[in-house]
């Protein structure tokens, strides 16, 4: 089976571009150009150069000695937490800003939940001197004050989404509305592998640098360029897509995807898309999403704002449906405990999103000779208030 996107923008049953006609020209312009622009040597050179000198790539593949000893297996961390702005998100925003420039766009919009993608977008806009508007749920603006301040420091305008539940889902709606209203000069930088085709594929390609590096880094340390397992957390799924990308069709590599169970899968407050999601059309694509029997989108819940999204991108819906990936749902408490464990065993304070991934070590057994690569998708600086509250530090 092939797990990449097909010509029509589908991953198996999922994907496509279910967009209002008002968005057709914008999305079509992207669809027609993204492959040729990103394949252009000039683009590639600039993209690679910025990833190197600005983002700080390659990010290390770090062998976690103490963790490996404790779990009696070979654990590596792909250190996306060391990226400029603190998470993998910036790989994508660098790619998209270069694309937007080549499409002659003069104005950037983005949605953000936890604020990581908003910061990454505001950052590349400052770098290029381009106007930037970030939509963010009114509730999230209150919950994520430091990232709001970072965006403002970077010169972006943060516009509150006041509709619906005032969180990420609504910020996405507002960003799409803005795009509909500004179809010519504006590029919409989506922050994960979600949205209408070609976004999921485009974002996945920009994030693919993660597994591209992992391959030669493993070759250096393990003498083979693939691990036995790749493990990542999934909100929309961009960090996971990046880590899996070059291994999608390599059946030697087992894929484990960790989603947020919030207060528990059956609590009514979770973001466990695989367990609870149904086939849905939202934000421009067909995917798995949590919804009411009536087809209204459900508000998700997770202690981690970055996983607090009611669905996953179509690639992950397909990986789940086809059983190519194994899905694990981890509740808040386990994730938080892993935040502490990783801090104290490896000196790395992970984002709470990232911490979810590590809980796979308790859920699954790995052999002593097996090589397990975790995507350490982001650092926990943005989550300190939550950690402080939770652990009464």
């Amino acid at each position: 089976m092939n797990y990449n996107v097909d010509e029509k923008g589908y991953y198996g049953d999922f994907g496509g571009a279910y967009i209002p006609e008002m968005l057709y020209p914008n999305v079509e312009e992207l669809r027609q150009n993204y492959l040729s622009i990103t394949a252009d040597p000039d683009f590639k050179k600039q993209f690679d150069e910025l990833l190197k000198v600005y983002v700080g790539r390659p990010t290390p593949l770090y062998f976690a000695k103490r963790l490996s000893e404790k779990y009696n297996t070979r654990i590596y961390l792909k250190r996306e937490d060391l990226c400029h702005t603190g998470a993998h998100k910036v790989n994508n925003t660098i790619g998209q800003i270069l694309l937007a420039q080549r499409l002659g766009k003069k104005r950037i919009i983005a949605e953000t939940g936890a604020g990581q993608h908003g910061v990454a977008t505001a950052t590349v806009c400052a770098l290029m001197g381009i106007e930037c508007i970030v939509y963010m749920g009114e509730l999230d603006i209150k919950r994520q004050a430091p990232n709001v301040a970072r965006m403002k420091m970077l010169g972006a305008e943060v516009r509150p989404a006041q509709s619906g539940s005032k969180t990420l889902k609504d910020a996405t709606n507002e960003a799409i509305r803005d795009w509909i209203n500004n179809p010519v000069d504006t590029h919409y930088i989506i922050g994960s592998v979600v949205g209408p085709h070609p976004y999921p594929d485009m974002v996945a390609r920009f994030q693919a640098v993660i597994s591209e590096e992992t391959k030669w880094q493993l070759e250096e340390t393990e003498g083979r360029n693939y691990p036995d397992h790749v493990i990542a957390c999934v909100g929309g799924g961009s960090n996971a897509a990046g880590l899996y990308y070059h291994y999608l069709n390599d059946e030697r590599v087992n894929i484990i995807t960790v989603e947020a169970a919030g207060k528990g899968i059956d609590s009514g407050e979770s973001a466990a898309t695989s367990a609870l999601g149904k086939e849905v059309i939202i934000h421009g694509s067909k995917t798995l999403l949590m919804q009411t029997p009536d087809g209204q989108i459900t508000e998700p819940y997770s202690i981690s704002a970055g996983l607090d999204y009611p669905g996953v991108g179509p690639m992950h819906a397909h990986l789940f449906r086809s059983q190519r990936a194994e899905f694990i749902s981890i509740p808040d408490q386990e994730a938080m405990d892993w935040g502490l464990t990783l801090s104290q065993m490896e000196g790395i304070i992970p984002a709470i999103e990232t911490a979810h991934a590590f809980a796979a070590l308790d859920a699954r057994k790995f052999g002593p000779e097996e090589v397990v690569v975790f995507n350490c998708s982001g650092r926990g600086d943005k989550d300190l208030d939550t950690y402080i509250d939770y652990f009464k530090l």
């Binding site: 967009i19 209002p20 006609e21 008002m22 057709y24 020209p25 619906g164 509909i180 087809g295 209204q296």
Partner: protein
């Protein structure tokens, strides 16, 4: 013959009204329809509310959210509309996002529409190509029209394609924007209306988005067969109530 086609016979400029089902109150759907017919509107778009109406501006969003809070849902709307054809003769179009329909089951959805006497659908997030490939046959079987949107940014080529797939009418979005009432149209809009006019499409065109008063209605219908009013009507409904609907319709037509 589909009631929509019947309406478009002749040269009369048509007035169509959009409102959210179950708004302002859950049981207002049918009373609103009756008032609209009495007031002389030519056609109605009944909005099936959705949690994430991304092509709509704040007014329709709000009415949609309120309707959901009131308890509106797909089944509820169908049950409200059961038997509606005993009282309402003008064309009825359901306008809603694709997801609630998909969850209801598209086939079952079409059957219910047919049995109620719905004439057509407007589904903003179901692109014409997907419709053409996957759903047209089904819609046709149930005698349902599906209307598509075009915008100032839509290329001539695509407009021709849409014209070919369409029946009923083509929904001309006045400007590339989400729904919402505006007071006047600028030169860009009128140029666009004229451009489409000159294309001499097979399907009649109706202008929507940004029509709020007699002036914009006049401008919109100058180069098209009709206009759809949504946000301005909903605002009126919120302020003046179902009883006074004829007052609104009059203000547009005078």
């Amino acid at each position: 013959m589909n009631r929509i086609d019947q309406k478009f016979k002749g040269d009369k400029k048509l007035l169509s009204i959009y409102f959210s089902a179950g708004y302002p109150n859950l049981e207002d759907t049918v009373p609103v329809l009756k008032k609209l017919q009495v007031a002389g509107v030519d056609m109605v778009e009944i909005g099936l509310p959705f949690s994430d109406p991304l092509a709509d501006g704040p007014t329709i969003q709000e009415s949609s959210t309120q309707a959901l809070r009131n308890g509106m849902n797909t089944e509820k709307l169908f049950s409200q509309l059961d038997g509606i054809r005993k009282e309402i003769e003008i064309p009825l179009v359901l306008m809603g996002y694709f997801n609630p329909m998909m969850q209801y089951g598209i086939e079952k959805f079409c059957q219910r529409c047919e049995s109620i006497g719905i004439d057509g659908l407007i589904i903003p997030d179901l692109p014409v190509d997907v419709y053409h490939e996957h759903y047209k046959t089904l819609f046709d079987q149930h005698g349902l029209y599906n209307m598509f949107l075009i915008t100032p940014q839509t290329s001539d080529k695509r407009i021709r394609y849409i014209d070919q797939v369409s029946n009923g009418f083509i929904y001309m979005v006045s400007s590339a924007s989400v729904t919402g009432a505006k007071n006047t149209f600028g030169k860009t809009q009128t140029d666009y209306f004229q451009r489409i006019q000159k294309m001499e499409l097979n399907t009649p065109t109706v202008v929507g988005f940004g029509i709020s008063n007699a002036e914009t209605y006049q401008a919109a219908t100058k180069e098209s067969r009709g206009a759809i009013i949504g946000s301005a009507f909903i605002k009126f409904l919120k302020e003046k109530g179902v009883e006074n609907i004829p007052e609104f319709i009059q203000s547009i037509r005078d």
